[in-house]
């Protein structure tokens, strides 16, 4: 279409506005080669965009011709709508960027090939972070990037790049920077090392917050400090993780924000950022200031600690304010994220509260367990050796922190001494570690922790204590306590669960008989299949080596050689050991969700399985589990490992019935404990469940999944192979994580279970 005609059409569309001629000419230039139909469809969108933004409308006209190369004119209105979304959400620049790459920003998402979601990447990112930090840091998706020193928050999705690998790299980069801010104490900087790491008391604000507030414009001070720290962290990462940073430089052009076009002078902060991150292009803008900044900035190049950045912030702040009295905020770089000091404060408070609770709990337990500590414990006393080393406590409880801190390495060579009535008592590793954690957070061990522990012990506060694993297997009457894994603190909740082993009632019913006749054909086949698995211990004769001499063979060989023949050297008897040295424990989920035919089929499967196992001769036990809340986990005995498959067992199978909830961890741990006592070459723990672990209390979701997973890891560590059979209609993504990809099987149709179960077992143990 002719350029003049296009111009005319455009002007008529935007009338009565009268835009500048050149702008219009420039904008429609690209459309000159297009046919009339396309030009019309482009022009049709002008009335939609013009009222929103004139510049956007011009940009649109420039970009639209190119866009039509990959999209149909009919799709243009959708594209325009998306562009306007971008404009309204993130401004003109972002809308421009959106229009610039139709393929990536518009078509890929339309086809469902958008960027990388956090959920997809988390499985790789989390171990990466854990390896990097060597401690328990969490990852979570959030609208903005930041960290509260406990969790690193990353975008729910990254779509910046076309390639998934690049988007993944950006996740990795964000996480690495946030991790570095944590380990390099950017957020927990303190004025002087003497005050401990942070110098703050629980509940108080961070030292950094107070520092920033002392400026007339705290936001500016914060931006400066954050910039200086980002520069320092960048240098730190260059040294620590050169591979990462090399890749970052390769992608730099895409990672850094698009430089502002046009006349707008970059703000002083933006210029400083360029200077600090050594991007020379930006420096021209404000030469006089840069001159004075330069010397400070070059001083910053050698900054080794957050405290150096604090000093540099104080030096830079007045210079910046002189040149640019009005604060112009600067969008942080994507990987830099924001500084959320309030979130840090809250997270650290929670951490301290938890540390305090655990410390008091453990110390109280320790005090209660002191020999001869009946009645009221002595009055608490507390002191720190440095302050009061001369007068040893005469009576009462004292907790003494001995040994200094080695500030240079941040490692604390402390010993905790517990003195009760002037007698020194072993504190134990747990208490020592907790105290160490508290001191590294707070800089000291608050006296009231000791007081409250003594108080709690005095009130006869008795936390659950572990009983020894004891008693016969069948009639375990005393409850057993188990630890439970708390993924949030990456540690066990000690003696958290109380589990009771119980007998299932005998139930006279025709259930087993009916099952046997119903599956008659199947059972005959099972017998044959399983017979082939059977193998006994036997002696094999005429071996080249073995435990004993095969006398027959020797005599024969001697005779042979006397006769001038070469005697055989196969003269030994060897004990061929039973290759099927297997012990297996079946653990049946008896939660109420198995109500109905699920439960019935599980019982039928057990009957079939017992028939098959009777043939093969493996040792096996069957137990059920259910319960409610952590203090009432129940473990039902159906068949012990050494017990024969007799009438009583059949009746107990008949009386399996749905009960309460599925607290998986303790049941797995108890089953593991039972299996540990059995000597067998292969020990298997097969769980039969109908879905998620869940209890009435907070044993749900991630917590329950992580505890179950951990219990399975513990089983594996005890050389027990866990395997889970799950009856569920749909696959859940947590299954792989919980059981490990090869260690479970989903059965989508419960009716298949009676057939599948023996097959599975055979495959597992072949």
């Amino acid at each position: 279409m002719d350029a003049d005609l296009l111009k005319e059409t455009f002007l008529s569309l935007v009338a009565p506005d009268l835009p500048n001629d050149w702008d219009v000419e420039e904008a429609v230039e690209n459309m000159a080669g297009l046919d009339e139909h396309r030009c019309h469809s482009i022009m049709n969108q002008v009335p939609v965009i013009w009222p929103v933004s004139h510049s956007l409308c011009f940009d649109y006209l420039k970009a639209a011709a190119g866009a039509l190369a990959c999209i149909e004119p009919a799709a243009l209105p959708i594209w325009v709508n998306r562009t306007l979304d971008q404009y309204e959400k993130n401004g003109l620049r972002s809308a421009r960027r959106f229009m610039a790459d139709v393929e990536k920003n518009f078509l890929c998402p339309l086809r469902g090939e958008s960027g990388l979601r956090f959920a997809e990447a988390a499985g790789r990112l989390l171990p990466y972070l854990r390896g990097l930090s060597g401690r328990k840091l969490e990852l979570a998706a959030a609208p903005a990037v930041y960290t509260d020193t406990v969790t690193i928050f990353v975008p729910p999705e990254i779509t910046l790049f076309q390639e998934e690998a690049d988007n993944f790299f950006l996740y990795k980069l964000i996480i690495t920077y946030q991790w570095a801010f944590i380990v390099q104490s950017t957020l927990t900087v303190s004025p002087s090392p003497e005050n401990g790491k942070c110098g703050e008391r629980a509940g108080d604000e961070l030292w950094l917050q107070g520092f920033l507030r002392s400026f007339s414009c705290p936001e500016l001070a914060q931006d400066l400090y954050h910039l200086l720290e980002t520069a320092r962290i960048t240098r730190y990462l260059e040294e620590e993780l050169p591979g990462l940073m090399r890749h970052k430089r390769e992608l730099a052009a895409l990672l850094e924000p698009v430089p502002r076009s046009g006349a707008g002078k970059p703000s002083i902060l933006a210029a400083l950022r360029d200077l600090l991150l050594q991007r020379e292009e930006g420096i021209t803008s404000s030469p006089d200031l840069m001159q004075s900044c330069r010397s400070i900035v070059s001083g910053c190049r050698s900054a080794r600690s957050a405290h150096d950045s604090i000093r540099a912030t104080m030096a830079l702040y007045p210079l910046v304010q002189d040149v640019e009295p009005e604060y112009i905020p600067l969008e942080p770089l994507l990987y830099q994220g924001g500084l959320r000091l309030d979130a840090v404060r809250v997270a650290r408070q929670a951490l301290l509260a938890e540390l305090e609770e655990r410390f008091v709990d453990v110390l109280a337990t320790r005090l209660l367990n002191l020999p001869g500590q009946s009645g009221r414990p002595a009055e608490p006393m507390f002191r720190r050796e440095e302050q009061d080393a001369s007068s040893p406590p005469e009576s009462g409880i004292a907790l003494i922190v001995a040994g200094g801190r080695d500030q240079a390495t941040e490692t604390a060579a402390r010993t905790l001494l517990l003195t009760v009535n002037n007698k020194e008592i072993e504190v134990g590793e747990e208490l020592n570690n907790l105290a160490s954690d508290i001191i590294s957070e707070l800089g000291y061990l608050p006296a009231q922790y000791v007081t409250s522990a003594a108080g709690r012990a005095g009130r006869g506060y008795a936390p659950l204590r572990g009983t020894d694993e004891a008693g016969g297997m069948e009639e375990l009457t005393a409850p057993v306590t188990y630890d439970e894994w708390d993924y949030r603190r990456a540690d066990f909740r000690k003696n958290w669960v109380s589990l009771q082993e119980k007998d299932l009632p005998l139930l006279h019913s025709s259930f087993v008989q009916e099952t046997l006749s119903r599956y008659h054909g199947q059972i005959v086949r099972l017998h044959r299949q399983f017979e082939m698995l059977r193998q006994a211990e036997r002696f094999v004769r005429r071996q080249k080596e073995g435990e004993d001499i095969d006398l027959d063979a020797v005599v024969e060989s001697l005779a042979d050689s006397r006769a001038g023949l070469a005697g055989s050297d196969r003269l030994f008897v060897r004990l061929q050991r039973d290759r099927r040295d297997i012990a297996v424990l079946f653990l049946i989920d008896m939660s109420n969700s198995t109500q109905g035919w699920v439960g019935l089929t599980i019982k039928e499967s057990l009957v079939l399985l017992c028939e098959a196992l009777a043939v093969v001769g493996d040792r096996y036990g069957i137990y059920g589990f259910s319960g409610m809340r952590r203090l009432r986990s129940e473990f039902f005995h159906i068949k012990g490992l050494g017990e024969p498959y007799d009438d009583a067992v059949r009746q107990r199978i008949g009386s399996i019935a749905p009960r309460e909830y599925t607290r998986m961890g303790p049941a797995l741990r108890h089953a593991t404990a039972l299996l540990r006592r059995v000597e067998a070459r292969t020990r298997l723990l097969i769980t039969l469940s109908d879905g998620k672990p869940e209890d009435y209390d907070d044993y749900k979701g991630e917590y329950a999944i992580e505890d179950t997973r951990h219990a399975l890891l513990e089983a594996r560590a005890a050389s027990i192979h866990p395997f889970c059979i799950t009856i569920d209609r749909q696959a859940h993504d947590y299954m792989d994580h919980m059981y490990g990809a090869k260690n479970y099987i989903m059965i989508d149709d419960v009716r298949k279970l009676p057939r599948r179960m023996p097959e599975l077992y055979r495959a597992l143990t072949r």
């Binding site: 499985g123 790789r124 990112l125 989390l126 171990p127 990466y128 854990r130 390896g131 990097l132 930090s133 060597g134 401690r135 328990k136 990795k172 690495t176 620590e240 993780l241 050169p242 591979g243 990462l244 890749h247 993924y487 990456a490 080596e545 435990e547 001499i549 020797v554 060989s557 001697l558 050689s561 006397r562 005697g567 050297d569 003269l571 050991r577 070459r681 951990h710 890891l713 513990e714 594996r716 560590a717 005890a718 050389s719 490990g740 990809a741």
Partner: protein, 268 residues
Amino acid sequence: MDNMRLEEHRIEQEPYYLPQGQEVALAEAAYNSGLPLLLKGPTGCGKTRFMQYLAWKLGRPLITVSCHDDLSTSDLVGRYLIKGGEAVWTDGPLTLAVRAGAVCYLDEIVEARKDTTVVIHPLADDRRELPIEKRGELLLAPPQFMLAVSYNPGYQSVLKDLKPSTRQRFVALSFAYPDPEREAEIVAREGGVTGDLARSLVKLGTMTRGLKDSGLPEGASTRLLIQAGKLMGRGIDVRPACHHAIAEPLTDDPELLQAIDEMVSSVF
């Protein structure tokens, strides 16, 4: 014949061993007091190398037996073989070591069956004797003989099956991965890589050791780091070298594999 067998076990050249602490002095003291040694520690942290060094230092041959669950008493003590129509007794490695006053090192002792482990009991206490039942012989160990066993306490396992009656006969030395500087020195020397590369390998190793709760029971051992170094020395690029020498040997889990590869690409 036995003399020949023995000579093979003599260590002529000083093995390279970088001490981590007092272990050499402790082991020598144990040797001089006729006490057996128990070495614990994760795989590939230098236990075997330490024994080689110790045997060299003591000037004794070193006889190593890798234990497995089919290892029988006769595999250790000896058995009759028929030679030329006659039954000839042949000493097992343990007996050989006792007779010759050598150092006998039973690697991964927990893998052996319980009934096998008990034959070392009388050797490991102050009797220092080895009964050879089939021959009706009772061997008394000379002062030069030393018994050493090793095991890997492993991931969270409560002293995997080693019975207290066995454990409580030994002087125990606990081995861990050396501190980063020393480990880098070892990796540089044994793997034949530069100091910088060795330090990066150690950094990577340390990262993988932080993956306990992510499903990796044990992180990369010094041995794996050395092996990665050796591949690099043969011209394999860093990433494939680390992938094949470190990531793959550690795990089959696809996510963990990727996470380790990511660590590699960050570190190098």
